[in-house]
Symmetry: C2
């Protein structure tokens, strides 16, 4: 039983999924450091569901053990792939079946390699694979949005320590993305400029929160960072769709700035837990002048409490300009 | 330096406070189980800033060691009490000084007593004290909202294990409260009824998510609970302001349902960490026909990950009706 229920008070959706394990605080962490038992390791393919896609080092599709990147369905998915949405009311409440796709992108065959140590070439191949999965899943008209994300380390909710990304296709536009789009829309209506582009201009002219940049991308610590050492990566030129980075130069520059940020975080915070996710426009849109795709990276080094839960206000104990300085000087 | 910064993308405020400790995951937990060193224990009053207020068992104000409830300023407050707001722009961004009050309500002089073991009489005295502090702080016109909350247990961000509530008065209306008020407003505009009152009616007629109720209050697991075993407590009759429970009968019934829920959670989940907070109307409002005050209690037993951060969608591995059944049958 997987169900999507809408909270009429916060307008947010909740996925009720009885087939998921409780990712409990108290449970012994499942960290399979032994590559004999890790289902994501090369040689253990039989421990996972059949693969969706795999590439070897020469970027050729492969079915055998010489894969370099491998995409599999999650064996305990957040949302279920089979069925139709069947939206319905339950008195005052709204619900629908929990339809979606939940895939794992195993980024490397080797157990002990983490994302901060990937080369630009390795990262580029991961990006190309992500884009291929998005292109394919976009054809399923039940889906409204795809989130690509990473949980790295125990405090970020990681359960298998072999480096991987997750991808969830869902039948609703997530609340956080709706909020970003709405802010962008209101700003555009007033200024006729993209809010995100204006933020980038101001960050470039002030310089205090920039960590690094290249021809096409910029990485900075946001002015009102919710978390210490929070980092955003954005394309400098206006673009609402992640799939528009489709040539060699852009993918290389994007991979280069991503791996640079992960290396800096690893160095400054001594291998921190972090969450990383990609925000691009909803699947049924092709271009938005008021939205700007980006990556958010959130190191999980402080705990949130009843204050954050009850207010939605965050307490950041480090000045964003200081976080930026540490990260800027780290390489 | 304490500063409030507004994120133009999410419209949420962030408190940048260099004087706060990082409540780090990695830091050894500060659990002062030794009542010789606990600053909240009776006899250790010199370890805290001077008290704001204290009551003895006979509900008389007291200054000596015979206190039963004691209110003190937090010695490392989230917001600073001195100064003026000085709202200003920094280019595209908005900020102001981080002005507010942050108080600790020590609920009991004894170190080993937790909120789930309080008697109705003890809880009633705590409620009266909270109301007195709200009445007093409401006179400070710099403040727009007061959040009363509790962090119980390590996974809820507790740093001192002696039972206490926290109270933060702040110069902005928090995002979560704004969101609840806006949903209530839209619903009222359409239906001319309170959204929360309608939810209560439906919960009463279905019955499957109710845990317990008395003449004036109801406790249930919300239809779209974000967390397993999440509980809301609301007055059955429409009321937007927590301070309207001002007679003996109402305070007793409210205390009775609160302690009952905390006992049930303690029993079913084996002494879980939890966050508890109170949502009432903003300080400068006197009555809202579209808002309904309530308490939210959130057991911290599952971890949130990049999926929740990136979407604002929550994954709940337990059917709310099942959570409710466990709690209903626990007493």
């Amino acid at each position: 039983m997987v169900e999507l229920r809408k909270d009429p008070i916060s307008s947010g959706w909740v996925i009720v999924n009885k087939n998921r394990d409780l990712n409990c605080f108290s449970k012994t962490e499942i960290h399979l450091h032994d590559d004999k038992r890790c289902p994501f390791c090369s040689g253990n393919e039989k421990l996972t569901p059949p693969q969706i896609l795999a590439y070897d080092k020469s970027k050729r599709k492969t079915n055998d053990k010489d894969w370099n990147i491998r995409v599999i369905p999650n064996n305990k998915p957040i949302l279920a792939i089979e069925g139709s949405l069947l939206k319905k009311a339950e008195g005052i409440f709204d619900k629908m079946n929990g339809i979606g796709a939940h895939e794992i992108i195993i980024e490397t065959p080797s157990h002990n390699k983490s994302a901060h140590s990937f080369t630009v070439e390795e990262y580029s191949q991961i990006i190309l694979t992500v884009q291929e999965r998005i292109r394919d899943l976009k054809n399923d008209l039940r889906f409204e949005y795809i989130l690509v994300f990473k949980n790295y380390g125990i405090n970020a909710g990681e359960t298998i320590s072999h480096s991987h990304l997750q991808l969830v296709a869902m039948p609703v536009i997530p609340k956080t993305v709706k909020e970003e789009i709405l802010s962008g829309f209101k700003y555009f209506e007033y200024k006729e400029r993209c809010l995100f582009c204006d933020i980038i201009s101001q960050e470039i002219s002030s310089g205090t929160r920039i960590i690094t940049e290249n021809d096409s991308f910029i990485a900075f610590v946001p002015f009102a960072s919710r978390y210490p050492f929070e980092v955003w990566i954005l394309p400098k030129e206006h673009s609402s769709d992640f799939r528009t980075i489709n040539d060699y130069r852009l993918i290389t520059e994007f991979s280069s700035i991503n791996t640079s940020i992960l290396r800096r975080l690893h160095k400054v915070l001594d291998n921190p837990s972090y969450n990383l996710f990609l925000h691009s426009l909803p699947l049924k849109e092709n271009f938005m002048q008021h939205y700007h795709w980006h990556v958010e990276i959130i190191p999980q080094i402080v705990k949130t409490t009843g204050f954050e839960l009850g207010t939605g206000l965050y307490v950041n104990p480090i000045l964003p300009e200081e976080s930026a300085k540490f990260l800027r000087e780290a390489e």
